[in-house]
């Protein structure tokens, strides 16, 4: 497995590995001080860890490294990035190149997530306000 990290300088200890059936909202104090959380994709098509990731980032305010492991393929990257993952274990050929391009593959997003991207809806609202002003 090759490891790809968007923040190579970040600390990786202490780390916490979760099953995709674990309830992240019940972690409580177990989360304190954790620098790396590893979420698992047992299959490409099992999307539970996407919800775990968003809850960790957006509900619990987790700011450490969030790693995807298991069946991680380059076609998932736009989704993984939007849900807050910043580290990936994958053995797929071409993964590094895909990662470099994944954020710009779609110039438009519709859903507000914790990734900071401005949605099409918010951009339209800004434009309307600019026109009105």
């Amino acid at each position: 497995m090759a490891l790809f990290r968007l923040h190579p300088e970040a600390a990786q200890e202490p780390a916490l590995a979760l099953a995709n059936t674990d309830d992240v909202l019940a972690l409580g104090s177990a989360l304190a001080g954790v620098k790396l959380i590893v979420l698992n994709f047992p299959k490409f098509t099992d999307g539970r860890a996407y919800s775990q990731a968003r809850l960790l980032r957006e509900r619990l305010g987790y700011t450490g490294e969030l790693r995807a492991t298991g069946a991680v393929f380059l076609d998932q990257l736009p989704f993984l990035l939007r849900c807050g993952f910043d580290s990936f274990e994958s053995e797929q050929k071409g993964f590094a190149e895909a990662l470099a391009k994944a954020r710009t593959l779609f110039s438009v997003v519709y859903q507000p997530t914790g990734d900071g991207r401005v949605t099409a809806g918010a951009l339209r609202l800004q434009q309307r306000k600019a026109v009105a002003a």
């Binding site: 490409f44 098509t45 099992d46 999307g47 539970r48 996407y50 919800s51 775990q52 968003r54 509900r59 393929f73 076609d75 736009p78 989704f79 993984l80 990035l81 939007r82 849900c83 050929k93 071409g94 593959l105 779609f106 110039s107 438009v108 997003v109 519709y110 859903q111 507000p112 997530t113 949605t119 099409a120 809806g121 918010a122 951009l123 339209r124 609202l125 309307r128």
Partner: protein, 557 residues
């Protein structure tokens, strides 16, 4: 370009669809180059509507809320001509399926779709599917609010949703804005019904866990009244609960209806409301400006009130019996006086339900350009609808439809059959559906007899996945395979009307293919003898029960 009365893409929507085509083109290239195995490629092509069927690839094209401009319909005709065999199949989910697509051509077909702001995004796969609505939206007299405004809002939010693209199973949402539900909201994963409360506010009743398939269930209401601006927060909450807790161990138990059934509606409500408490008042809350900007695009055409009694129409009615019947069954009232909603029947006697050739699609577009504000709808009953026709144009519209073969006066009647593609196309099917529909529609072709029989919905599925909605047919027909022989199971008493939604009950042993028509004939005869004034088939069945029908069918078969 003519004025439009529904949502038009802006630069953002166009960019996203173009980028999705480019992404898919690359995925197809990788598949053809051997960089992706079929196992890896399958979920990728499915999320873009490309199925591998019995004979070829099938491309399922999304028609959001069933609304098409004539420009879009003409492009669909052109795509079918260029990349398929010159025809397409309109489905029960307001989609269009092309059955003979080559994998190499799929990216180009999608690029042609993108030219007219269309796509095949999320028409398959375990994710939020094309959102469906009342096909009379924006024209119906009983409408509280146009549901398509909300469908469009849901369409954008669900498109490439990063959290919900790998759900346990597919997820279908339907929205109705009328008390008379024409969108079957109680048999969807989520059904939304707009209604006005005592304070005069309009909001959503949220219904969860309905569905057909192998375990049919009627959806349960988990919220009576949801403020409209919190729709996305609430949907995100429902989907998150489903994504986290829906079963993934068994394909047949993975729909949200099974989760609701297993944990109970109370627990489901509790979980969703807890999630919603943390999600509402967030960036998902819709601003009045956002809602208004989308609603404005659905502003109905400025139709002037016209004469409702037109001498030419009255004269033709007396002179032409088929036209008189057509007025009764295929023409519905419009909210603007002097106008009507016209349904073109894609069920002429003996034809496969829902099929249209490229030439027929173009003919329909011509009619809509001339007489229906350049707009066409696809109904979940696999017909096409002209939403805004002046009554004075009805004779001309009728004649034009006659020339296309779409003037059959059978909407809501025994030959207005819903059928899935069945074993003629589908890799999942156990039995053929289309030939059964064709035989029934040939047998009952005579129009005055159909009108005498009255409203009777026959729905046919070629397997237990129930794409033909047989559970909610007044007469449901399910194809089953017994030791290599195609047999058909009959069920009676299903209904999708709101407040009356019911699942049919199996009548008895399955019958052979060549006995289906006789059996249906026996059911109809039983009804005709027993009916009281004003009773539809299904009403009589509810009153007298299954026994008389059973005796007649199994005595006769």
């Amino acid at each position: 370009m003519p004025d439009t009365h529904f949502y038009q893409y802006d630069a953002y929507d166009r960019a996203l669809v173009a980028e999705r085509v480019a992404q898919f083109r690359d995925q197809v290239r990788r598949r053809l180059a051997g960089e992706l195995t079929e196992e890896q490629f399958k979920p990728l092509r499915l999320t873009n509507g490309l199925y591998l069927q019995l004979h070829a690839y099938m491309l399922r094209i999304a028609i959001p809320y069933g609304t098409l401009s004539t420009r879009q319909l003409r492009q669909l005709a052109a795509i079918a001509r260029k990349y398929d065999r010159g025809y397409g199949h309109f489905t029960t989910r307001q989609n269009l399926q092309l059955n003979w697509i080559r994998l190499e051509d799929a990216p180009d077909a999608l690029a042609m779709l993108a030219e007219v702001d269309m796509h095949a995004i999320q028409t398959s796969g375990n994710l939020i599917r094309n959102v469906t609505a009342d096909h009379f939206a924006g024209a119906a007299i009983d409408e509280i609010e146009d549901p398509r405004i909300w469908c469009e809002i849901v369409r954008q939010w669900s498109t490439l949703h990063p959290e919900f693209s790998f759900l346990p199973r597919k997820f279908k949402i339907a929205i109705t804005g009328s008390p008379n539900d024409r969108a079957a909201v109680r048999v969807h994963d989520v059904g939304l019904r707009l209604w006005r409360n005592e304070q005069g506010e309009v909001g959503f009743e949220v219904i969860v866990g309905g569905g057909l398939g192998r375990t049919p269930m009627i959806g349960k209401t988990i919220r009576d009244f949801l403020p409209k601006d919190e729709l996305l927060a609430y949907l995100e909450s429902v989907l998150r609960v489903y994504n986290r807790y829906g079963r993934r161990d068994n394909l047949y138990k993975s729909r949200i209806k099974i989760l609701v059934h297993e944990i109970g509606v109370e627990k489901m409500r509790e979980d969703v409301e807890a999630e919603y408490a943390a999600t509402k008042d967030s960036a998902l809350k819709l601003s009045p400006q956002t809602i208004e900007a989308i609603a404005r695009q659905f502003a109905p055409p400025a139709l002037r009130a016209k004469r409702t009694k037109v001498p030419e129409v009255e004269a033709l009615k007396l002179e032409n019996r088929a036209f008189a019947l057509w007025l009764k069954s295929n023409v519905a009232p419009h909210r603007v006086p002097g106008h009507a909603i016209v349904t073109a029947s894609l069920k002429p006697a003996g034809a496969p339900p829902g099929d249209a050739s490229s030439a027929q699609m173009e003919g329909v577009a011509d009619i809509a350009d001339a007489w229906s504000q350049s707009e066409v709808r696809v109904s979940h009953e696999q017909n096409l609808v002209f939403p805004h026709v002046p009554i004075e144009a009805l004779p001309e519209v009728y004649r034009a439809l006659e020339r296309l073969g779409f003037a059959e006066a059978n909407i809501g009647k025994i030959t207005d059959i819903i059928a899935c593609p069945g074993l003629d196309y589908c890799a999942l099917a156990n039995a053929r559906s289309i030939p059964v529909a064709q035989r029934i529609s040939t047998h009952f072709a005579e129009l005055s007899r159909q009108h005498d029989i009255g409203d009777l919905k026959i729905k046919i599925s070629g397997c237990i996945n129930a794409c033909g909605h047989h559970h909610v047919g007044h007469i449901g027909i399910l194809g089953v395979d017994k030791n290599g022989v195609e047999l058909y199971q009959l069920s009676l008493g299903g209904d999708v009307d709101f407040g009356k939604t019911a699942l049919g009950t199996i009548l008895g042993p399955a019958v052979e293919a060549d006995k289906v028509v006789e059996a249906v004939d026996a059911l109809v005869a039983t009804y005709l003898e027993a009916r009281q004034a004003g009773e539809r088939f299904v009403d009589t069945y509810r009153r007298i029960g299954a026994q008389p029908f059973k005796e007649r069918v199994y005595g006769a078969v």
